[in-house]
């Protein structure tokens, strides 16, 4: 990425904020595992450290308060109750704001900042009073530490720094100093490995220390002193009274030293800060950040440790994706050329060509998976939206997420953020009822919004489901009539009424709250989803809630399509929209009115839509139906039969955007390059049906759009 260290810091901040959010969400969900608390603490601490290095005082000051409270939680001095968790969540949102202000400029809401700081200080105040009682063993149920605090123990510590440790600026003396604060410490220097003067390398490490510490602190506290040199030294800590049997596996490794008490990763802590929680120590922080980076090597609890990753510019990946796209096109061109050759025996070539094809697919899948990312960070951001929205509307709503590890193309994730935000705000503002109303309806006071992601046959399905009041259909219809979006006598089905929400210029909020109702409606959401090649659906049942379903293509670069010919042009219809294909005979076609034709399929009548006519490629001839039909379903659940001349093939095609080539073409979603090197249009069945003159299905919608246009 870019060379600036500050940029790297902000990139890391993103990751750290994510980790922090993830931890807090877990805590909110009832997981009070000390390791989770530690993870959040570390994240905040690292942000503070980096912020200090760049002189971001506001950020550092806030992060410090935040971190200090967390330190209290960690050491069990403060109980994690609902109120504190809510405060911490708000603080994490604020910290994210501070980071983005530091990066992009802008101003921080001082008042909000002060409120949060005051909230945090409340806990710090309590801490100071409780400090006296701490040795009594206030190990509350929230963060249970496995070890008994009262008994004095003696630890034999062998500490042998590697030369890398000195490279990171760590100094054994400070470690010993911190240790001595825990209890009585005896230090013995072991210089036996020290070579003769001429054999000595200047930057190598030859010294080791044997320490004997007598303390009441648990072993984790001792280990935590060495947290920031983990992986940089050879360390063994043996307690004379340890008798835990859980470390059986480690016993073999540590046979020489006896059985250590805890096999898990040592309790991390910042030795420089623990004694003086109210005082910022920016000098310590650059080291802290560095050690964080080294840590993963020695991290035993792997599922929480970051996986090794590589930062690559997105542009490079995109270039690779383009090249692979070309490779696939190239393969099909080659295959076509070979098929055209006048050679008797092609079997060997064809076998090799098949191998080529499989390899190209593998590469393509691999490359696409680089761009694919789990939706988790996106979902985590959404939790904040719900939090803020419920605070603004004085409702209680919580977000439950499912399928966070579902992987979706990075661009899709980025561009989903706005529509999802909008839907969730709407769900809180219009969907979930006020707590009193909910109780009256026999529901729990807190509304639940379920955000889930899953893969569904080649596409990604994202569902937003609330348990609110559902769409108020009579109201929605009345508003649409009042606003002139539909004629007064319109006869609409329930599904059609629900879909009125997606019409431009529609807003049902009785009073315009500062949350939704800013003039942008669900039509913006729909446009955003459609722009991604997806579709959005709403279903609702009164009193039980509404569900928005967003179906998105897995990737934006490749899709499965049906290759058809229309008026001598080869075109591609996305396979996801096709339900079935059929060859029609004359007796299946029924006229309806002057220019409407219906296709009868097993007793059902489906309007026919002539693709060539809709695209303006052929004058409507009326009595010459093309003969092959693709049965497609629109987002409203209406079916329509697309009439094409012929179906050739079903294959994967590389999507080439027409953006910047010719603007928006009605009925065409994008283009692709076929095996013969020709370009084929990828059709957008939805807009073809909407544009088709013979479509009876969309009469009501066309009336709507006409009304809007006029």
């Amino acid at each position: 990425m870019s060379g600036s260290i500050q940029d790297t810091f902000f990139e890391e901040c993103e990751e750290l904020l994510e980790a922090m959010d993830e931890g807090l969400t877990a805590i909110e969900g009832g997981d009070h595992d000390p390791e989770v608390v530690n993870a959040v603490f570390r994240a905040v601490h690292s942000i503070k450290g980096g912020g200090g290095a760049f002189g971001l005082d506001e950020l550092v000051a806030f992060a410090h308060k935040f971190e200090t409270v967390f330190d209290e939680v960690r050491s069990n001095k403060v109980q994690l109750d609902v109120k504190l968790i809510q405060l911490l969540l708000r603080c994490s949102d604020h910290l994210a704001d501070l980071v983005s202000v530091a990066r992009d400029g802008g101003s921080v809401d001082e008042e909000h900042n002060d409120v949060l700081v005051a909230g945090l200080e409340e806990y710090l105040g309590e801490e100071e009073e409780e400090l006296t009682f701490e040795p009594m063993g206030l190990g509350g149920p929230a963060v249970p530490l496995p070890l008994d605090l009262e008994e004095e123990k003696t630890y034999q510590i062998r500490f042998q720094p590697l030369k890398e440790m000195f490279g990171t600026g760590n100094e054994p003396f400070f470690l010993f100093q911190t240790l001595s604060e825990l209890g009585t410490l005896k230090v013995t220097l072991d210089e036996t490995e020290l070579p003769g003067f001429d054999a000595m390398a200047m930057d190598d490490s030859y010294l080791a220390w044997d320490l004997t510490l007598t303390t009441k602190e648990p072993k984790s506290a001792v280990e935590s002193v060495f947290e920031f040199v983990e992986g940089l030294c050879e360390l063994s800590i043996v307690s004379d009274k340890d008798s835990e049997d859980e470390a059986a596996a480690l016993a073999a490794l540590n046979a020489a030293f006896g059985v250590p008490g805890e096999s898990a990763e040592p309790e991390p802590s910042d030795p420089f800060e623990e004694p003086a929680p109210a005082e910022a120590t920016p000098m310590a922080t650059p080291e802290a950040t560095k050690v964080e980076a080294v840590k993963p090597e020695s991290n035993k609890s792997e599922q929480r440790g970051p996986k090794p990753t590589l930062r690559v510019e997105l542009e490079r990946v995109d270039r690779l994706i383009n090249a692979v796209g070309e490779l696939i096109i190239n393969h099909s061109m080659l295959a076509q050329q070979i098929a055209n050759l006048d050679v008797a025996d092609l079997r060997d070539v064809e076998t090799e060509l098949e191998g080529f094809k499989n390899l190209a697919r593998d590469i393509q899948e691999g490359v696409m998976s680089i761009r694919a990312q789990p939706v988790k960070p996106l979902f985590q951001r959404m939790a904040r939206i719900v939090r803020e929205a419920s605070a603004a509307t004085e409702k209680t709503a919580k977000l439950v997420t499912e399928g966070e590890n579902t992987e979706v193309d990075k661009t899709v994730i980025e561009r989903l953020s706005d529509p999802l935000t909008h839907i969730l705000r709407n769900a809180v503002d219009h969907g979930v009822e006020k707590p009193a109303d909910r109780e009256a309806a026999g529901k729990s006071r807190a509304g639940e919004i379920r955000l889930s992601a899953s893969h569904r046959s080649g596409s990604v399905c994202i569902e937003i489901k609330d348990d609110g009041a559902g769409v108020n259909r009579p109201r929605v219809k009345q508003i649409a009539i009042d606003k002139g979006l539909i004629p007064e006598n319109a006869d609409l089905t329930d599904a059609e009424i629900d879909n009125l929400l997606f019409l431009p210029g529609f807003s049902t909020a009785k009073e315009i709250s500062n949350l939704s109702g800013r003039g942008v409606g669900m039509d913006v959401v729909k446009n955003a989803v459609t722009a991604l090649g997806g579709r959005i659906n709403i279903s609702s049942s009164p009193g039980k809630g509404s569900t928005f379903t967003i179906i998105l293509p897995l990737t934006l670069a490749v899709m499965d399509g049906m290759v058809v010919s229309v008026a001598d042009q080869t075109m591609v219809v996305p396979i996801t929209s096709i339900i079935e294909t059929m060859r029609g005979s004359d007796d299946m076609i029924n006229s309806l009115g002057a220019d409407g034709t219906l296709l009868s399929i097993r007793g059902n009548f489906v309007p026919i839509c002539d693709v060539a006519g809709a695209l303006g490629l052929r004058k409507p001839e009326g009595d010459k139906p093309p003969g092959v039909y693709l049965l497609v379903e629109t987002e409203t659940g209406q079916r329509s039969a697309l009439a094409v001349d012929d179906i050739h093939d079903q294959r994967q095609v590389v999507i080439k955007s027409l953006d910047g080539v010719c603007g928006n073409v009605p009925g065409v979603a994008a283009a692709t390059i076929l095996g013969d090197g020709k370009i084929a249009m990828i059709l957008d069945s939805e807009s073809i049906i909407a544009a088709s003159p013979s479509s009876a299905t969309f009469d009501s919608e066309r009336r709507m759009s006409n009304a809007i246009a006029s």
Partner: protein
């Protein structure tokens, strides 16, 4: 209009007494030319993919080594008779606003070198197209060759369609 010595082609000002090379071609029977540095490549005509709902002067799109580029019929663009498909037809690929665009011409004639002072101002005529699209004219072998103002002809790629 600008005086003869200051006529600009693209962004480049032609220095006095410095020869520049133009590629001349015919469109609907008339001779036109473009500065050689504006041209990326010249390809033989191959049927293009029709863009639905496209205006008359947008023939469609073509595959240029994996990129989708729009093809304009210069004749239709100039308000002349649409070019009839023929073996001699060529597509002149130019870059407008950094994007490749294909221009259909009847045939390519030759490369001509001219001094800037040979370029004459476009005389005032009725046709709007002429004034906008023609930057200047030169006389070459007793015929008039029109210099196309590329930026005006293809003002923006999106403009081809509504």
């Amino acid at each position: 209009m600008q005086s003869q010595a200051e006529v600009q082609i693209g962004d480049q000002e032609i220095k006095h007494a410095q020869q520049s090379e133009f590629v001349s071609f015919t469109v609907a029977g008339q001779a036109f030319c473009l500065q050689i540095t504006q041209i990326r490549e010249i390809r033989r005509w191959a049927p293009v993919t029709i863009l639905p709902h496209a205006p008359m002067d947008v023939l469609g799109v073509m595959n240029l080594r994996g990129a989708v580029i729009p093809i304009y019929d210069l004749a239709a663009r100039f308000g002349l008779q649409q070019t009839e498909a023929s073996e001699r037809n060529v597509v002149i690929v130019v870059a407008v606003h950094g994007k490749p665009v294909g221009l259909l011409a009847e045939s390519v004639s030759e490369i001509i070198s001219i001094n800037p002072e040979e370029i004459q101002e476009t005389p005032q005529v009725e046709s709007r197209y002429t004034m906008e699209y023609i930057q200047g004219i030169i006389s070459h072998d007793e015929t008039m060759v029109r210099i196309i103002n590329l930026d005006a002809v293809i003002s923006a790629p999106e403009q081809g369609l509504s």
